[in-house]
């Protein structure tokens, strides 16, 4: 959809219409001398719930009202209107832009003062999320894109803006996942893989890519390089939904790795309004677990002692409803009791190829997954 030439005139999209309606209501308030207001879904833990049916984190019904005349809101109100206006502008021009470009495009000193509209990007980013939630849309549909992160290799043929990319022929790099993977940009031409393996660490992904693990096991390997960005999560969601591929997740055995898994599986609190598009509730956890230490006879000295912060985070995870399944409670308790965590690279202590030749095949064969 984006192209380098702006079409001369186009009819407004659904999203553009929503933006304009929001603005219309504000203007009506102003004319009627009412305090102008924007209604926004609340995006904190207090307004988020775990939907037992869809197994997704979802946003609740509670709204906050951001008004012009409440001093605690005035600046944010102004910023919200400005971001909405700029989104309309770039949609009119049919270009996409990065959230950082958006920030720069809007930053200026307010007339008659020394104050800036935005002081830094950490002010504009949450406003974008507010708009996404309020309009029930993705930023990509507002023609915005975020930092991209993550790589893919294996049995899938991708059509990216017309370019055909064979993920089995991407050499040592793999295919870099863009920030916008919506069907308008990215199409799957041919999917031959049997399942998707999502890997927390790029180094491990590279090890598996070098060993052509995806060829031997007929799968797709994806890394998010840590907490996956929206692009990678959306891609997993689409591949699973559209082609029914099972999803296995491989992370460090620590509370942060487990949280990454949970975000892939049921979405995050902050982006709870997007869980339908970003979460993949059928994902399974393949490892590492602290129980692996014994099962795979990993030397104890490659484990790492839990920090105070780790311990706190473990307690928090145990209280999340989506970690309530007994297998997870058991694993978390075990980690807390034993007092150690492990990184994926710890498997290298058993030999460079241990992960691709023994660990993963055994886990997949025996279906040793956590839910």
């Amino acid at each position: 959809m984006p192209s380098s030439k702006a079409k001369s005139q186009k009819s407004p999209s659904e999203i553009e219409k929503k933006l304009m309606e929001m603005a219309k209501r504000i203007v009506d308030d102003i004319y009627a001398k009412r305090n102008p207001a924007i209604e926004l879904p609340i995006r904190t833990l207090s307004n988020v719930y775990f939907d037992e049916v869809s197994k997704l984190i979802r946003i609740g019904d509670r709204k906050s009202i951001r008004t012009y005349m409440n001093m605690a809101h005035t600046r944010k109100f102004m910023q919200t209107v400005l971001v909405a206006s700029e989104c309309k502008k770039i949609m009119d021009q049919q270009v996409t832009t990065s959230v950082r470009d958006l920030y720069y495009a809007l930053k200026h000193t307010i007339k008659g003062s020394k104050e800036n509209t935005f002081d830094d990007q950490s002010e504009s980013d949450p406003i974008i999320e507010d708009l996404e939630a309020a309009l029930n849309t993705l930023r990509e549909e507002l023609n915005l894109k975020t930092d991209r992160k993550g790589y893919l290799a294996g049995g899938v043929m991708i059509n990216d803006m017309g370019d055909l990319i064979n993920a089995k022929k991407m050499g040592s790099s793999g295919w870099a996942i863009p920030s916008n993977v919506e069907p308008e940009v990215i199409k799957f031409e041919d999917v031959s893989a049997d399942y998707i393996l999502v890997i927390e660490k790029d180094a491990v992904w590279q090890r598996l890519n070098e060993d052509k693990f995806w060829r031997d096991h007929n799968c797709i390997i994806i890394t998010g390089k840590g907490q996956p960005a929206r692009g990678a999560r959306r891609l997993v969601n689409r591949l699973h939904k559209e082609h029914n591929l099972p999803v296995y997740v491989l992370t460090d055995a620590d509370p942060w790795g487990y949280y990454i898994y949970s975000v892939i599986k049921q979405g995050s609190i902050n982006l709870s309004f997007l869980s339908d598009r970003l979460g993949t509730p059928e994902a399974k956890f393949i490892g590492l677990t602290t129980e692996d230490l014994k099962e795979f006879d990993i030397p104890k000295n490659v484990t790492i002692k839990l920090t105070k912060e780790d311990e706190k985070r473990i307690k928090e995870l145990m209280n999340y409803i989506w970690f309530k399944p007994k297998e997870w409670q058991k694993e978390l308790k075990h980690m807390a009791k034993e007092g150690f965590k492990m990184e994926l690279e710890a498997l290298s202590s058993k030999g460079i190829k241990f992960i691709s030749k023994e660990y993963l095949p055994q886990k997949i064969e025996n279906k040793e997954f956590l839910p």
Binding site: K33, Y68, N70, K88, S113
Partner: protein, 517 residues
């Protein structure tokens, strides 16, 4: 070589109190030459104010410090007080531990009869010069003395003595010292002492000719504080030694009478209850009491509920005088004062008053500590007042810093008492009895609450004006964005926003349904 007891006995000898303080002058406030100057002026001015008050005269005090040599100064302090009768002059100025206030239980500046004669001692020690005193009670005679102290006997030594006709019927006392000293103007200086004195005694005129020029502290009110009454001792806190001594000196003929007459606030019922509990016949003549009787009496007193001492022995400044003093010397934008009800420690009544002045000419923060209207300038760290003030979190009262380090504020704390418990004989800080600290804290907090209300009002007023400015500031940008989004005219929207603000800016909006914003 080794001595036996007989040989040792020959060296034993009585020591005069003058000799003692000559060697231990730091105990009287003569630690160094800067402080010595302050101590002398303090003793003389305190005496003048005490005398004027007792004689119900509005004080006019004149102080002059003149440099004679590098470290030699002439000090003159003159008052319009009642004057001193001729025969008392030598003893008052020339004998340590001689005075009118020690045996009397009433609020006064001086207490021990040691201050002014200490100054005479210091002068003769450092310059060898006699101190000159002129005084008249307002009759036809003007007496003048040049005095020293005979240190080994602790008796006055009259160097010269004269009498002149007092043609103007002048009344008052004038003292002139010549001492080794150093003059400085800093936070513990003579100037600061006189300024605080002027605040605490707004009924006094004080003129000060310093080596650097004249300072005049003009009288702010025309009324003297009410005269404190002397009281008898209170039974609370009396110890067996004192009780038995008093019993042997009393004029009363029965124990019961002794308790009623020699102590304050003891009625017949209380006296008899004490005697009963002590198993002492209330009719026993006090001189016949033996040691065991006193022990039982002390125990009985401790068990008996006693009425608090009367408080007319106290003479606080009062709220109006305090405010007047702070206003005239500090010129603040806000001032208020709190006078607590009297309280009691170890049987002694005392009363705390606090004034706070804020802003205006005040720069930085300062705690002024006073005891019986006398400013305390040294040993702030050890003082009950400092402890009470620094334990308060001033941010609670809308000041900008927890410890006042960034606020223009003067906190004036006055303790009035028959017997102020100082930490040392140089009377520079008040001992930290818990009940004293508590009273100070309550008074300061009450006054600070008033300041807090004033300050938050100021903040609120600023905020409301600020609100309009902020709303208008954003109008331009909001209008442009809304025009782009709706296609309406930017000018029209901006005008509407400004009308909206004009219409509704005064309304206070509270953040209710919107915790996350």
């Amino acid at each position: 070589m080794a001595k036996n007891a007989q040989e040792m006995a020959q060296t034993h000898k009585a020591i005069s109190i003058s000799e003692f303080f000559e060697k231990n002058r730091h105990l009287l406030g003569y630690d160094n030459k800067i402080k010595a100057l302050l101590t002398i002026i303090k003793e003389a001015v305190d005496n003048s104010l005490d005398a004027c008050e007792e004689a119900r005269i509005l004080p006019d005090i004149y102080v002059r410090i003149k440099q004679l040599d590098e470290e030699r100064y002439e000090i003159i302090v003159q008052d319009n007080g009642p004057g001193i009768v001729e025969k008392q002059i030598p003893k008052i100025f020339g004998k340590l531990l001689y005075g009118s206030k020690f045996h009397r239980h009433r609020q006064s500046r001086g207490q021990q009869g040691i201050g002014i004669s200490g100054a005479v001692l210091y002068a003769q020690l450092t310059t060898g010069k006699a101190t000159e005193i002129e005084s008249s009670t307002g009759d036809g005679n003007l007496y003048n003395f040049r005095l020293k102290i005979d240190v080994s006997r602790n008796e006055p030594k009259i160097i010269e003595k004269g009498k002149a006709p007092n043609e103007d019927a002048w009344r008052g006392t004038r003292i002139k010292f010549i001492v080794e000293a150093v003059y400085r103007e800093h936070k513990q200086s003579v100037l600061e002492y006189l300024k605080q004195t002027a605040i605490a005694n707004p009924f006094a005129n004080i003129t000060f000719d310093s080596p650097n020029g004249r300072h005049v502290f003009v009288r702010g009110i025309e009324e003297l504080p009410k005269e404190p009454k002397a009281i008898k001792p209170h039974l609370e806190g009396v110890e067996i030694g004192i009780l038995s001594r008093m019993a042997h000196q009393t004029k009363a003929r029965t124990v019961s009478g002794f308790l009623i007459e020699d102590f304050t606030r003891v009625g017949k019922k209380t006296a008899e209850e004490i005697c009963k509990n002590a198993e002492v016949n209330p009719k026993t003549p006090p001189r016949k009491l033996v040691h065991d009787d006193f022990e039982r009496l002390i125990k009985a007193i401790k068990k008996t509920k006693l009425i608090n001492p009367p408080t007319d022995c106290l003479s606080p400044l009062g709220k109006d005088a305090l405010i007047s003093g702070l206003k005239k010397e500090l010129n603040p934008i806000w001032v208020d004062a709190v006078v607590r009800s009297p309280a009691v420690y170890r049987g002694w009544p005392f009363q705390i008053e606090v004034g706070i002045a804020y802003g205006g000419d005040i720069k930085g923060s300062k705690v002024m500590r006073l005891a019986n209207r006398v400013p305390l300038l040294y040993q702030a760290g050890d003082c009950a007042i400092t402890k009470a003030v620094t334990h308060i979190d001033w941010k609670n009262y809308k000041l900008s810093s927890k410890d006042l380090s960034e606020d223009p504020i003067v906190i004036f704390v006055h303790m009035a008492s028959v017997w102020v418990p100082f930490n040392s004989e140089s009377k520079e800080s008040i001992a930290s009895y818990p009940v004293i600290i508590k009273e100070i804290k309550l008074a300061v907090q009450e006054c600070a609450r008033k300041l807090g209300i004033f300050l938050s009002g100021q903040i609120k007023a600023r905020e409301i004006v600020e609100r309009r400015r902020i709303l208008e500031k954003y109008a331009d940008d909001i209008a442009r964005a809304l025009a782009n989004l709706t296609g309406e005219s930017e000018e029209k929207i901006e005008k509407a926003i400004k009308e909206l603000v004009e219409w509704r800016w005064g309304e206070v909006q509270e953040d209710e349904n919107d915790a996350q914003q």
